[in-house]
Symmetry: C2
Subunit: 221 residues, 2 copies
DNA sequence: ACAAGTAATACTGGATCCAAAATACAATCG
DNA sequence: CGATTGTATTTTGGATCCAGTATTACTTGT
């Protein structure tokens, strides 16, 4: 027998999930204060697991903490977004450089599968599923690098910069661009062509950044 | 008036400092379990601030957490150290690229001051002070980039990879090398020569890594 | 009517208490 | 004698309670 025991879901983990979701979907708006006991009542738990979950989010930079003042959801201006996204790109580049040296055919298959999920979700118009599949796509590549700490950082950065994803994926043209670029990335991985892969990732990012700049400009009307 | 109020020191912040110190100095050995109530009694506080501090350290990767099993100090094998150090280098490189475009003469003066502190501490044989001054040196440059999130990540990575510093600075030859390389970095900053600066940082890192490899090889006797 | 000072209120930080899970240990059975 | 199951102890996770601080509202004086 070699059964992997299911890690028991503790209350703080549950709270953490709920908080992440609320922040991601904007139910907890950026800049708004987080009232601990209101949240506790709402989720039907005490304030202790709330506090501990908030400490983790603080460490990830998702919420801002001021002693005796409490927590508020971190705001992410365009400038901040670009900073996070830039860091993410640098680290992802390092990850894929290693990954391409060690990646197996099996991994590449998973990459292709994840991409298929992205396309399917996109055609079905399921924004959340598409974002999730997209994350899986990128992290399949990142995981192949075998750098657990780098992976952890990228995971945090990903969540932190994924705030506007629903705006993003809701545009047909963006979905098409993502699909096209992903396939190019897969091809580069198959060919084990590092420089081509890096170049494509760079373009992938440039396209995303350009899109966001447009969004933000449009917001300022 | 625009006075920034000093945030009052809360108990968890105190606990956090103590824990960091204990981990850094090895009083809490890597791999050892952290007993919460023992710690609470030792520091004269309740378990609540202990737990919250541990949650922060968990987020930084300094301790490992398993639900219902508790916390243990993260172990850092050579391989892990190299990974952390590599990430640190990549991010520092990005930071200094930006920094060199925006750095003021005043900043450069602070850089020179920090370096003087490194040298002074080194000659006095004060390892801890030397490590602190060294940290200040690097972060003076990093701060000039004006990328707060990048700075935060670097700060975490710095702490996480600074475990062996006492072994490191205790060698005369290393101290001399650090001093020499730092001066070279300052010169490159003064000349606003980005590529030279990057090159020197790369060498700085290579030297450190080589030193650590020797250490670890020696450990295996 | 407006500003300043004061009192009331709300919310966070910390301590204690209780329950549940994990580990260590002992007893019993093959 | 070894293994397995049952029990006791340890330790963590969560809830409630209390104290201290910040914010808000109100009152009073100019």
């Amino acid at each position: 027998m070699d059964i992997e025991a299911r890690p028991p879901q503790t209350t703080q983990q549950y709270v953490l999930e709920q908080l992440r979701r609320a922040i991601l979907t904007g139910q907890l708006a950026p800049g708004s204060a987080i009232r601990q006991d209101a949240l506790a009542e709402q989720l039907g738990v005490s304030r202790v697991p709330i506090r501990e979950a908030l400490k983790i989010l603080e460490g990830e930079g998702q919420v801002i903490y001021r002693p005796r003042r409490g927590y508020m959801v971190a705001e992410l201006a365009l400038e901040d977004f670009l900073e996070v996204y830039r860091i993410r790109q640098i680290l992802e580049e390092e990850a894929v450089r290693r990954a391409i040296e060690r990646i197996t055919d099996e991994d590449i298959q998973r990459l292709q599968d994840a991409h298929a999920d992205v396309v399917a979700a996109g055609q079905a118009g399921e924004i959340v599923a598409m974002a999730a599949a997209n994350r899986r796509f990128h992290f399949t590549l990142i995981d192949a690098a075998g750098m657990p700490r780098l992976r952890r950082f990228l995971s945090i950065l990903w969540d932190a910069s994924d705030v506007y994803r629903s705006l993003y994926y809701s545009e047909e043209s963006n979905r098409e661009r993502v699909e096209r670029e992903h396939q190019g990335i897969i091809d580069a991985v198959r060919a084990r062509d590092t420089e081509d892969l890096i170049r494509r990732l760079g373009e992938h990012r440039a396209g995303t950044v350009a899109t966001f700049r447009e969004f933000m400009a449009r917001q300022d009307d």
